[in-house]
């Protein structure tokens, strides 16, 4: 049978956003793929060149609606490097709590979207229910449901509110119990296992060469994680190990990538519980916004020639910001903002992963890499 090109997207249940995957098929088998991105390119990097350092945080929140906090924190660390700000330790703990709760919410969003991809609709409803608990916690911190605008250059917007620790403990413990229910819902579903096991193999060295990182690489039996390899924040004060999945010798398949995210949610929940116990000054103490315990003074202008960069463990892999100072308004705005989106690099790799599998495997493989088009197109 003759080979032909099929265009999946920009509107397609597989895409998890707005993009096109062109596939070349020989009968039912995929023989070549080509991703086509850029449908929702907003020019965030250019817009940031005309915004001051505080205003940029809101744009970074909007890079990914499912994982807003990790993106704004990723930017803030680079901005602090550029402006030379030392952050109070209490603020670092609060940031860690916010980021790890966000990681759980993001993975739940992924799990909720992945279920319907491969024929299990009830998991979506369950995951969104749990995600609501996480969003409530983040709303207490940031004040809004999705785009929190929570970190500030030099600290955080607000301290932990009264009673937050108690509510967070209760919700995370409930979550840790319920996560077992999801596992049984997935792991005992024959449909899920048949569709996710044995498809989309990916090996660690190949993935690293292709620029893939984060949960996708830890699914393949290596423990590389920016949080310990290029240490930032106060992760080293907590007792934790990156979750690693024991994959098959062919590499990680879609099932391994599902397992790793479930394990990561457990690990993040444990980190938040530890951080609440260990936070300097105690979780029940409240400081007014702007208190030096949670927000250090920061200059508003960056000198010419200064640069700031930071690698960050985002929910989907290694994200990064590179800032060059000395822009308009005598350095009030950055001269250049460059954003590394893990998914921008991973989507071409995921598309390569599909070659050799059937057309019906495409949603399973693509979904398992957790694509997010907001951050991809920027």
């Amino acid at each position: 049978m003759a080979e032909m090109w099929i265009s999946m997207g920009p509107q397609h249940p597989m895409t998890h956003g707005l993009w096109t995957l062109k596939i070349k098929v020989d009968g039912e088998t995929v023989v070549d793929t080509e991703p086509d991105l850029g449908y929702i390119h907003r020019g965030v990097e250019k817009i940031c060149e005309a915004r001051d350092f505080t205003q940029i945080t809101t744009y970074c929140d909007r890079l990914c609606y499912a994982s807003a906090n990790t993106w704004s924190h990723s930017y803030i660390y680079a901005a602090e490097d550029l402006l030379g700000v030392e952050v109070p330790e209490r603020a670092e703990y609060i940031r860690l709590i916010a980021v790890e709760i966000q990681r759980i919410a993001s993975h739940l969003m992924w799990l909720g979207a992945y279920g319907p991809d491969i024929g299990n609709l009830s998991i979506m409803v369950w995951c969104l229910r749990e995600r609501e608990m996480m969003m409530d916690l983040l709303q207490e911190l940031g004040g809004s449901r999705m785009h929190y605008n929570f970190p500030r250059v030099g600290g955080v917007k607000r301290d932990l509110p009264h009673g937050f620790a108690q509510r967070a403990r209760a919700k995370l413990k409930l979550f840790l119990n319920r996560i077992q229910e999801y596992e049984s819902l997935f792991d005992e579903s024959t449909v899920f296992l048949v569709r996710s096991q044995g498809v989309g193999y990916a090996k660690p060295e190949e993935m690293i060469n292709h620029g893939v990182s984060g949960p996708n690489i830890r699914a393949a039996g290596v423990d590389y994680d920016v949080r310990w390899a290029h240490p930032y924040s106060v992760y080293s004060e907590l007792d934790w190990q990156p979750s690693v999945e024991r994959s098959s010798i062919k590499g990680a398949d879609c099932y391994d990538r599902y397992r790793i995210r479930v394990e990561e949610m457990r690990m993040s929940a444990s980190m938040v519980l530890q951080a609440i116990d260990k936070i300097p000054g105690g979780a029940e103490t409240y400081h007014e916004p702007g208190d030096p315990k949670i927000l250090a003074k920061a200059p508003s202008r960056a000198p010419e020639g200064a640069t700031g960069s930071h690698h960050f463990e985002d929910s989907r892999g290694e994200s990064m910001f590179y800032l060059a100072g000395g822009g308009e308004g005598r350095g009030k705005m950055p001269y250049r903002v460059s954003i590394r989106s893990p998914m921008f690099i991973t989507i071409p790799y995921a598309a390569k992963c599909m070659i050799g599998y059937k057309v019906a495997d495409i949603p399973a493989i693509m979904g398992s890499f957790d694509p997010c088009i907001g951050e991809t197109d920027r």
């Binding site: 390119h41 250019k46 952050v87 690293i208 690489i217 310990w228 390899a229 921008f344």
Partner: protein, 218 residues
């Protein structure tokens, strides 16, 4: 104490790598200390001439175990004295290996992060290449060394207009495919105006615009 690469090991490894990089002609590398939040990180920061870049990249991948291309940034400096274009590479040494298997069962690689040494220490490397004033800025492509550089190079050409010699399949990735030839939005002749926050909320339609702003895009 939790898992963490110690600052001492990081600094030692960064010093060794910076020395090895500096031995290549046209490359000048040093250890850089960056502070984010409460932690200091020791990274390698280098400058390279465009001619030595390809040799440097090959040496890093083959001899120094640099296995990961994180990001490529192109910057347009129309007003700078020493350069008009700059390409900044952020590479990483991740030390990721395929895990071994015993009787067909994978043994996950667990790094003892607190005790890693020498070439096993994960490192960040920043390499900056300044290009002179030219209408067709270009550097050598490293797409074949790190596949992760492939889409980074496409993006840098698409947005900034810096080309990569030897790159296969260059095309628009974020801008529409029918974008006019020569239009690269992150070049500095395309200007955006600063909006104060009062203006953004109180004057969305731009009725109170100053005469000086006439003709500028809102």
């Amino acid at each position: 104490m939790g898992k963490k690469v110690t600052a001492a090991a990081q600094q030692k490894a960064a010093t060794a790598l910076a020395e090895a990089m500096s031995s290549i002609d046209g490359v000048n590398a040093a250890v850089d200390t960056r502070t984010s939040g409460t932690q200091d990180r020791h990274t390698v920061s280098a400058t390279s001439t465009p001619e030595s870049w390809r040799a440097l990249a090959e040496a890093l991948a083959a001899e120094q175990g640099v296995d990961y291309c994180s990001m490529i940034t192109g910057i347009h400096w129309p007003d700078a004295a020493d350069k008009t274009w700059e390409v900044v590479y952020h590479l990483m040494r991740t030390c990721v290996r395929d895990p071994a298997s015993i009787q067909g069962v994978i043994q996950p690689n667990i790094t003892d992060a607190n005790n890693v040494e020498g070439a096993d220490v994960p490192l960040e490397i920043q390499i900056s290449i300044a290009l002179p004033d030219t209408r067709e800025p270009a550097v050598a492509s490293v797409q074949d060394i790190w596949v992760g550089a492939d889409w980074n190079e496409k993006e840098t050409w698409d947005l900034v207009g810096i080309d990569f010699n030897g790159h296969e399949g260059m095309r628009r990735v974020l801008n529409p495919h029918e974008t006019p030839v020569g239009y690269h939005p992150l070049q500095k002749q395309h200007k955006l105006r600063y909006h104060g926050f009062e203006e953004m909320y109180d004057d969305v339609q731009g009725y109170l615009r100053k005469p000086a702003d006439a003709g500028k895009l809102k």
